[in-house]
Amino acid sequence: MCTHITEQAAIVGSAKGPDGWMTVDTATVYYDHPYHAPLEHSLNIDLVNASEGAGSRVALELSAESARALVRAIHAALEQGADAHGG
């Protein structure tokens, strides 16, 4: 599609990339052409530390179906975790 339609979320946490662990503060999410995945379009997630260089990034390119499955898994894990630990 090649659009600039992009969602961003401020996040708190860490991600592990080729150089080890790093703090991440921003998630950029968009549905557009992938760079690597052999798909026409993919749900792309970039986890970055906005104050670091361009290479400080953990990237995901997922099919739409697998992205929805991931969302469901995240919701399920959060609910189960909340039941177990509170929160």
Binding site: T3, H4, T6, D32, H33, Y35, A54, R57
Partner: protein, 252 residues
Amino acid sequence: MYEGMIAETISLPGHNGDHILAYSARPLGNGPAPGVVVIHHMPGWDEWTREVARKLAARGYAVLAPHLYSRLGPGSPDDVAARARASGGVADDQVVGDIGASIRYLRTQPSSNGRVGIIGFCSGGRHAYLAACRLPDVDAAVDCWGGGVIVDDPSQLTERGPVAPIDLTAQLGCPLLGIFGNEDGNPTPDQVDRTEEALRHHGKAYEFHRYDGAGHGFFAVDRPAYRPHQATDAWGKVSRFYDQHLRSPAGD
């Protein structure tokens, strides 16, 4: 028959004199050779962009593919492209400036025949349309499935992209070749029709080719969108178009 080319990364002064990277691919020899500027798509200055540069060089063109996200580096092209997206994309003025600088670079090479065309893919197709309207020294432009040439929702216009390229059609100063897939969602077949209508209305030289069974980005050999028959035919049309408009020396 011997063939050879040299392909390498160079830097050149781009918009505002900023140094930007570019991938240069050109046939060996004294020339004269026409030039082509390759304008990359939104995923960035990637391997496929380099392949396109080498493909056109193998057909006898001196090619320059400017890294339009250079200012956001250093880093691998995909990381830099991610940064470009996160920051809202690059400004049209800057992109047009970088394309103009690339045209001047090619035209001033000793082996140039004085003629330079441009070709862009996806968002680069939109940039090609825009540059062909705004720059006076483009000799032939190719728009491959450029989305956003027509902007139906004015809220999509931004500070970085303040004008819909279609609104500049009256200023188009060179022949335009358009390549589109009829299954594309951006641009839609209706938008392609309306772009053609604007070109006809303003009496511009153009040729549009629409392909059934093809969607967006159907030249990409490493993607499911690849359509070998349509892509082979369309590459032939690109070659004929450039041969017609770029092979004769400047001034003819």
